[in-house]
Amino acid sequence: MLLIPCPYCGPRPEIEFRYAGQAHVARAADPSALSDAEWAQFLYLRDNPRGRHAERWRHTNGCGRFFNCIRDTLTDKIAATYRIGETPPDLAAGAEARR
């Protein structure tokens, strides 16, 4: 069971959350201007690292809000969570503020 620190509600059990895929995949301002390859890149292509991964979660059975999370996909350790629109914390500097 993951204990996920929601930026709004604090640490809550995994079953209250739904996963929502890789974070910071920006939707183009004008999708119709994209080529098929660029549109497929936005829709389908993902980084899928083994290690630290910036991802979105939604606190479905809590505050209902989306937020971002940096989690290690091998160890499941959550390094940080932060609100949508905030810049990712600089983890290299050791700023593991929210465990």
């Binding site: 993951l2 996963y19 895929g21 389908y44 292509l45 993902r46 899928n48 160890t75």
Partner: protein, 431 residues
């Protein structure tokens, strides 16, 4: 430790054919004359084809490359031991009860290869065609399964729509009068069943080795050398292997290995758990899938009940799962077969799935010359093992896909030709 040299063993391997006579002869010698059934060769500097990944798909690809296409110089490189990944972590089910026109012929070819596999590779893989039964719990589900059964029959696949009484005669242990999800009937594929999964890896390894394939274990690929748009070599922890063609068959880690060649894939890696109970007397005669939740179950010849359900639902490379999914699967199981609540769960494990964005696989060339991809098997790669290897071998040898895997294209995501069997959209965690 005294081991026979690989040269002497190579001859012994080619000569030894399993039969009743060989078993009797060995038993008279106290079973002391058995030899390792594949060599452990040192990697050579160059091969015609190098397959990355020594699981079921990689080994069957190498076997069919040698057998069907006469390619003489093949290596399979595996980062750990062969069969340490998903071929040893699945629930051993084989079936071809699909709906999509791109999928039915492919999986039916796989089932036909399963039916002849043991004779073909002279290895007991315990192929057991005990039937796969998909249950329905409402009129709408019955109509959907009738449609599926008709699609299967139109493609020459066996399918029988059973009513409630027929299912009750087959599996009396189910909870037919469940207040929320009463069982109204099921769609049975009698030719579906189970296979001993480890034996699939070992059998293909032995058969490939006897045709001269070098199986190189403990050999992790650390780089793919691309020169002028062409893949020419793999760099490994045991040296650099040049190759005219390189095939990737490393589902679970496809994104990582493809990234070594600069490719980005429409895949997320997720963990899927499976479970086995303590061994009991025969209870479940075939493979049964619950129509009201994601749960399926069969019973091994040892007596353990083997069952599984959904993926955990977030990117993971950890080959172990989280507890909420264990609870979810157990709830599904007890809803279907209430007496399961009296059993102990013996163990659970996790495998890493290549979850593709449309729920269907990829067997194709890549934008890089000489680099081929077999990936995206989601939660159903085991049943595809023979046909995936057969089609991937064809794609590599002929430099073009076979008709059976022509729809499993890598570029279908940009072209819009998705294979919408699951209807889940680009949401791997919902598949």
């Amino acid at each position: 430790m005294v081991l026979p040299s690989s040269h002497s063993r190579a001859g012994a391997v080619a000569d030894l054919r399993y039969s009743i006579l060989s078993l009797v002869a060995q038993s008279f010698r106290g079973n002391t004359a058995w030899r390792p059934v594949w060599r452990e060769p040192e990697p050579k500097p160059a091969y015609d084809v190098v397959i990355v990944g020594g699981g079921g798909h990689g080994l069957s690809t190498a076997y069919y490359l040698a057998k069907e296409h006469g390619i003489g110089s093949i290596a399979v490189v595996e980062k750990s031991w062969i069969g340490s990944g998903n071929v040893g972590r699945n629930t051993t089910v084989i079936r071809s009860n699909y709906l999509d026109h791109a999928n039915i012929p492919f999986y039916e070819w796989s089932l036909k290869l399963w039916e002849g596999l043991e004779q073909d590779i002279n290895y007991n893989a315990m192929v057991s065609q005990r039937g796969v039964l998909m249950l329905y719990h409402s009129d709408a589900q019955r109509d959907a399964l009738a449609r599926r059964g008709n699609a299967m029959r139109l493609n020459g696949v066996d399918a029988e729509l059973l009513d409630r009484d027929a299912v009750r005669r087959l599996v009396p242990i189910l909870d037919f009068d469940n207040a929320r999800f009463p069982i109204h009937g099921g769609l049975l594929q009698p030719r579906g069943g189970t296979v001993r999964h480890d034996a699939v890896a070992w059998g293909y390894a032995r058969a490939a080795d006897s045709r001269g394939v070098d199986i190189i274990q403990n050999c992790e690929v650390t780089g793919i050398t691309v020169e002028n748009g062409r893949a020419v070599a793999v760099e490994t922890t045991r040296g650099k292997l040049h190759a005219r063609k390189i095939g990737l068959a490393c589902a679970g880690n496809s994104s990582r290995v493809a990234a070594l060649a600069g490719l980005r894939l429409p895949i997320e890696s997720h963990v899927l758990q499976a479970y086995v109970s303590e061994g009991i007397k025969p209870l479940v005669p075939n493979v049964i899938t619950f129509g009201a939740g994601h749960f399926y179950i069969s019973q091994s010849d040892k007596g353990g009940l083997i069952f599984g359900g959904d993926i955990d639902g977030y990117n993971s490379y950890a080959q172990r799962g989280s507890t909420p999914m264990i609870e979810d699967v157990m709830e599904g199981g007890v809803s279907l077969i209430p007496t399961l609540s009296r059993l102990r769960m013996l163990r659970s494990w996790g495998g890493i799935m290549d979850m593709s964005m449309d729920g269907s696989p990829i067997i194709d060339k890549t934008p890089i010359e000489g680099l081929y991809l077999n990936a995206g098997w989601c939660i159903g790669g085991f049943k595809a093992t023979p046909a995936a290897g057969w089609c991937f071998a064809h794609t590599i040898a002929r430099d073009a896909p076979h008709e059976l895997n022509a729809a499993f294209r890598l570029d279908r995501f940009a072209a819009g030709h998705l294979i919408d069997e699951r209807g889940a959209g680009a949401q791997p965690n919902l598949q």
